[in-house]
């Protein structure tokens, strides 16, 4: 509502632009932004061209958060920001469940500008929190979108992790097959499922199958755990 006290220094306010493909969603998101004292509402539209014009009018240099709600699962042609340098535009994408995979994939690509992936049914508080976090330079993933992280194999080990012996299960370990051993070592190298599939000239489906078997045999539930347990058993060959 208007009249909410604004922060003394106007430069501290985070500028927010809103895109939604329904007027009802547009109204909801606009209300959220207008009622937050630390946010500055810049514009809202169901029309991408109107938003692009709003964006072009903004003074360059100050970061802008673009709150996008789209019922479409394809992100690439929906952003009005494609023609602009993306560094100053921080995108928060609200999607249906079917859009999580796309949104998470876009977050891996720094050029996309996507910094937060939220379900379209997120609460007002969650959306406000996400805007503040993104403006502060963080990346936000809603727990319900997390399933897409591990199932897409996007989780990667960067270096062999260190776990204290108390943290890891100590159950007896079954022997890995040569192929499983090979894949465990590729996991330790930080390769994603797609890259392993390409390297070994097998399908991604087969890679996932082997990884499931590796997890079972090592009693691990994440790649980092599998690599750490494998390392403690001397299975990582360097």
């Amino acid at each position: 509502m208007e009249g909410a006290p604004r922060a003394k220094t106007a430069t501290a306010l985070t500028k927010v632009l809103i895109f939604a493909d329904s007027t009802k969603e547009l109204a909801r998101l606009t209300a959220i932004v207008r009622s937050a004292p630390t946010l500055e509402f810049v514009g809202a539209s169901v029309d991408r061209d109107v938003l692009a014009a709003d964006l072009a009018d903004l003074e360059p240099g100050s970061p802008v958060v673009l709150l996008e709600n789209s019922s479409s699962t394809k992100l690439e042609h929906d952003s009005p920001t494609d023609d602009f340098a993306t560094e100053a535009i921080l995108r928060i994408v609200l999607t249906a469940q079917s859009g999580f995979a796309d949104a998470i994939a876009a977050m891996r690509d720094t050029d996309s500008g996507v910094r937060a992936a939220l379900p379209s049914w997120s609460t007002d508080d969650e959306i406000r929190a996400a805007i503040e976090a993104v403006a502060a330079g963080l990346i936000v993933i809603h727990p319900e979108a997390l399933g897409e992280l591990t199932s897409e194999g996007i989780e990667r080990v960067s270096f062999i992790p260190e776990f204290s012996s108390r943290e890891l299960p100590d159950s007896p370990v079954q022997q890995l097959s040569p192929r499983e051993s090979e894949i465990l070592n590729l996991l330790a190298d930080g390769l994603a499922n797609k890259e392993i599939a390409w390297r070994l000239k097998i399908s991604e489906h087969t890679v996932k199958f082997h990884i499931t078997s590796i997890f079972n045999k090592l009693d691990a539930s994440t790649r980092a755990e599998a690599v750490a347990i494998g390392a403690r058993r001397g299975l990582i060959i360097l």
Binding site: D111, S112, L186, G190, K194, A231, L238
Partner: protein
Amino acid sequence: MPQETSVSNTWRALSSEFANSIDHAGRSVVAVHARRRIPSSGVHWRAGIIVTADHTIERNEDVTVTLPDGRNVPSTLAGRDPTTDIAILKIDAGNLAIAEKSDAAGLKAGNLLLAAGRTAEGATRASSALVSVTGPALRTWQGGQLDLTVRLDRRLHPNLSGGPALDDQGRAYGINTSGLSRLASLVIPASTVDRVSAELEKKGHMGRAYLGVGMQPVRLSEKLREALKISNEIGIMVAGVEPEGPAEKAGVMLGDVLVALDGKTLNNLRSVQNFLIGAQIGKPVKASIIRGGALVEVVITVGERPAAN
């Protein structure tokens, strides 16, 4: 009508030079379609080989390339090195021009570069940037090595990743990429592209330094540490020696406990990984080993990780 002054002559000459450089380079620049968003660009580096930025390749199949004449043709992903952000594609190049190269070693902060790219529709895209920071070899966060550091003054348009960084004659100093730093684009120097793409063409990926040992961390007793005068609380015990591997050839045995490589203390497997990232294939390293309660030194010639079968 404003009079033609020497300033407007200079302007016209500069503008014309820029356009000529882009036009010349553009004959060897393609668009690369390997991700759902804006395509990246690629450079016809040598006959039939397109070099592009690895981070822009998001799928292995159905990677197509748009040529300068607008035709979209199929391509095969032939090699990837995320550590230097270089990937290569094989295409049936036909008459496509091969890029001319320029030496990036002479670049200094303040030099002006042009960037060329190709859009999804086949049009040429141009941009300019200043060389912002130069420096010697750069180790990327994933452990790869660029022969030189050439940072630009901003992030280029995503379509330009994989496209060439140009001199005034339209020759490529290297490949532009936004994938190695969040802050500003970098130029991967032509010499690095030559080196990496040659190895990628042969093997599909870059060789990794390899010792051929399976290891596990073990705690060293206080008594042992005092006796041997070593500070490590943890040693890396050899739990497996790969047949015909570099460690076996050097005489490393099961039960050996590694405590240092080339004088660098090893505390965990991560430190071994770190060491190997910086190690050169073919070079000897001194391994400090506890064997039978005594410290011995074994020289291992670093090998290359064998290809997956």
